[in-house]
């Protein structure tokens, strides 16, 4: 039994932590957000040089060959700086889907570019009607002479404005809600017929509405078998949820520390407000919330590692753990964010203070790939549906 990060993981964790501490202060971040692109290309190149962009990729593509645990180590520290560069979009999600795909040509063409920092990517899956059901896909891809012709619209595509390439889910067969018949395509952002309408999001990042009008992509840009795109999504989803939760954990821990420190300096009624029991107990509750979240993150990692060691292990344990984790991240994230603002008082309401910005990133993580209720319902289906069958 072991809950320590390895020496190698500690090294990369420290290097990200150093970057956040020494080079990514709050003003730097603010200037980046207000710059034209909203991200720093210089920092992105630096991430590439430091090897951070290679962490989860297989060695055969020039990657570090890391595990989800390595990714988690990086993400937790990036969270502490609410780093706005599109690490999640490009490395975790776009790169994750590619890694899980079976199209070797696409992988060897794109993964090295991600690693060297020359390819930013986004995943376009959401549609106006689809909310959290990723198989609810109306955008269609119809076979044509040159391959496939894509028509439709995707909404809230995170970081699409700076993306060089998009992975797009489109229906190649079946009805609107069918899991079978959804295919994933690699679409370069400059392809004719793709129009990207970008806007800022409250967490300092950006998103876009993208319309696809007779967008022609070659069949060689299918990530895997036709109609089997959801399999790829399902395969990589635990890793995405673990990485996002690690980022959230970094934010939660930071918010708690900021709040505790603030109460020790803020004087009212002639004494630091940290001496008030009403506030102390609330800060103990947020401390416990953060520790419990960390425990669920580690549980998810242990379950994921178990499957790596023995692929025949029942995957539903991992699924249950990540649903519980994501639901808890959302619930406790909300608690910790709201308490941080409340305990800071008026200053917590200001744009000038970093607290609100940490809270806003937590809020966007909370809805990413399903909110608390969505994941709790999934957890319930996995955990309780079999019990009544046994009883009846």
């Amino acid at each position: 039994m072991n809950f320590d990060f390895s020496e190698e993981q500690v090294m990369i964790k420290d290097s990200v932590a150093r970057f956040v501490r020494d080079e990514y202060d709050f003003d730097t971040r603010r200037n980046i957000i207000h710059s034209e692109e909203g991200i720093s290309r210089d920092f992105w190149s630096m991430f590439a040089e430091l090897g951070w962009l290679s962490v989860p990729f297989a060695e055969e593509y020039g990657g570090f060959g890391g595990s989800v645990e390595d990714l988690v180590a990086v993400m937790e520290e990036l969270g502490k700086g609410i780093v706005v560069e599109p690490y999640v979009s490009t490395v975790v999600i776009f790169g994750g889907l590619l890694s899980a795909a079976s199209n070797e040509d696409l992988k060897s063409a794109y993964i090295p570019k991600i690693i060297e920092g020359s390819c930013l990517g986004s995943f376009a899956f959401l549609e106006r009607q689809s909310r959290f059901e990723m198989a609810d896909v109306a955008t269609n891809a119809i076979v044509c002479d040159a391959g496939y012709k894509i028509n439709g619209e995707k909404t809230v595509v995170i970081n699409a404005g700076t993306a060089d390439s998009l992975i797009v889910s489109a229906r190649t067969s079946g009805e609107q809600f069918d899991r079978d018949g959804v295919s994933l395509f690699m679409v370069d952002a400059t392809t004719a017929g793709v129009s990207i309408n970008s806007y800022k999001t409250m967490d300092g990042q950006s998103a876009a509405t993208i319309s696809f009008k007779d967008v022609v992509v070659p069949a060689s840009h299918l990530l895997g078998a036709v109609g089997q795109g959801m399999e790829i999504v399902d395969k990589v989803m635990p890793q995405i949820l673990l990485a996002l939760s690690a980022e959230a954990l970094g934010i939660m821990a930071t918010l708690n520390a900021l709040t505790v420190d603030y109460t020790k300096t803020r004087q009212q009624f002639g004494t630091p407000i940290s001496s008030f029991q009403a506030l102390q107990h609330r800060m103990v509750d947020t401390f416990m919330a953060c520790e419990q979240t960390k425990s669920l993150l580690y549980r998810g990692l242990c379950d994921a590692n178990k499957i790596v060691v023995d692929p025949s292990v029942d995957a539903s344990e991992l699924q249950k753990s990540v649903h519980a984790l994501k639901a808890t991240v959302a619930k406790y994230g909300k608690l910790i964010g709201e308490e941080a603002i409340q305990i800071h008082g008026g200053i917590g309401m200001t744009d000038e203070l970093n607290v609100g910005h940490f809270v806003k990133r937590l809020m966007t993580i909370n809805v990413a790939f399903g909110d608390a209720d969505f994941h709790q319902k999934k957890f319930n289906q996995l955990s309780y549906s079999t019990i009544s069958v046994q009883a009846s």
Partner: protein, 394 residues
């Protein structure tokens, strides 16, 4: 990260599992759960004697005094297996509370006199700490022990004394000096319950059972040889004991078993033809608890792993008692909700069949008695004060 045990540890786990399966049979379980009053004492003592014969009665003790010599991992495995099997913990007052004080701070004579009879469950102990005016503020206690000749003369009242009605001995915190800081004038005294001037008054509780008592001391004469360590140093000894008590309070394995039972009961309980386990609202309440318990399980494993590696438990250990008790109360609450109308029935001699329900009485009692979990051992509010100070530095 992984939660794997070594091959030897797994072998040990199998040994424990096999012993529990063969020795804690349905007869033992039945006699324990149906036991009332003296029957209960008889049943639990019989079980503890079985554990003693096996040499497993006191895993927490140093080997020289009768402990098992188990590693941290083995102790953890043992506790987990016990909870999973639904076996109640040993009665803690002798084995887990006073014994560590005796073997740590007691004289050789005291060790020789008391420890063997605690191990064999021949002596039953109770704890004389709380008083009507000293609950969370324990150091405010006012029971006095006046030194006269070779004896202390004890006067005062102890309250909430669990199982005093069964007890041969009581360990007490008593005031031996006034006019000093309140923590400084306290001594740790062992008192024979048959001493003239000691009397026990039952306090019926909201679960309808008799476990709590008031213990009165009226000019009770206690020989000086029953004083632990030095006079006026009792608070230090008691605090060391509390640290001992704090480990292993999350009772994750017990809660996991209760939750499994609850789920099975929810599958059998029907509303409008639909099993409650399929009710979406009930499912949300259930998973609110289950997800927290999944987190607590790993919090406990994290604490255990750092101890097994020879380190001190991290700050996360401080939340075990709070979360553990909150979760077990939440399970009790949902179980009582599941029993619906039947939860209010005082079943008496009625069989489950006659009542029309098979777990209602247990649901009511464990809900009612379970309220105590967030009060004893330092109320959860006091626990929060401790974390605020010791962990957050507030």
């Amino acid at each position: 990260m992984d939660i794997n045990f070594s091959a030897q540890d797994l072998e040990f786990r199998d040994e424990v599992r096999a012993f529990f399966a063969s020795e804690y049979d349905t007869k033992v379980a039945e006699s324990l759960s149906s036991g009332q009053g003296e029957d209960y004492k008889e049943a639990i003592v019989a079980w503890q004697k079985k554990l003693h014969a096996k040499g497993w009665i006191a895993p927490g003790w140093p080997k020289e005094y009768g402990g098992t010599g188990w590693s941290v991992t083995q102790k953890f495995i043992y506790e987990t297996e016990r909870g999973s099997a639904g076996i109640p913990d040993v009665v803690p007052f002798g084995l887990k509370m006073v014994a560590p004080v005796i073997y740590t701070f007691g004289s050789e004579e005291q060790k020789a006199r008391f420890l063997p009879r605690i191990l064999s469950s021949d002596d039953w102990w109770c704890q004389g700490y709380s008083e009507p005016g000293a609950g969370s503020d324990l150091a405010a206690l006012s029971t006095t022990a006046e030194y006269a000749g070779d004896n202390y003369i004890v006067n005062g009242r102890k309250i909430w004394t669990t199982f005093a009605q069964f007890s041969d001995w009581i360990f007490c915190l008593v005031r031996t000096s006034k006019d000093v800081r309140k923590q400084q004038g306290i001594s740790f005294l062992l008192i024979d319950m048959t001493t003239p001037g000691v009397s026990v008054k039952p306090i019926p509780t909201i679960d309808g059972k008799h476990s709590l008592n008031e213990v009165l001391f009226e000019d009770a004469l206690v020989p000086r040889e029953n004083l632990i360590g030095e006079q006026d140093k009792g608070w230090t000894y008691a605090k060391a004991l509390l640290a001992h008590e704090r480990t292993g309070m999350a009772e994750v394995a017990d809660s996991k078993r209760m939750l499994t039972n609850l789920k099975q009961r929810a599958a059998a309980e029907v509303n409008g033809g639909q099993p409650m386990i399929d009710d979406p609202v009930f499912q949300m309440r259930l998973s609110d608890i289950e997800m927290q318990l999944m987190a607590l399980e790993y919090t406990e494993l994290r604490v255990f792993a750092s101890m097994a590696a020879g380190g001190m438990p991290g700050p996360e250990s401080s939340l075990l008692k709070i979360k553990g008790t909150e979760i077990s109360q939440a399970i009790h609450e949902l179980q009582l909700q599941l029993a619906a109308y039947y939860g209010g029935a005082l079943q008496g001699e009625l069989s489950n069949q006659q009542l029309g329900h098979n777990f209602a009485a247990e649901a009511r009692k464990s809900y009612m008695y379970g309220r105590a979990a967030t009060i004893y051992g330092g109320s959860n509010e006091v626990q929060r004060n401790v974390i605020a100070k010791a962990v957050l530095g507030l």
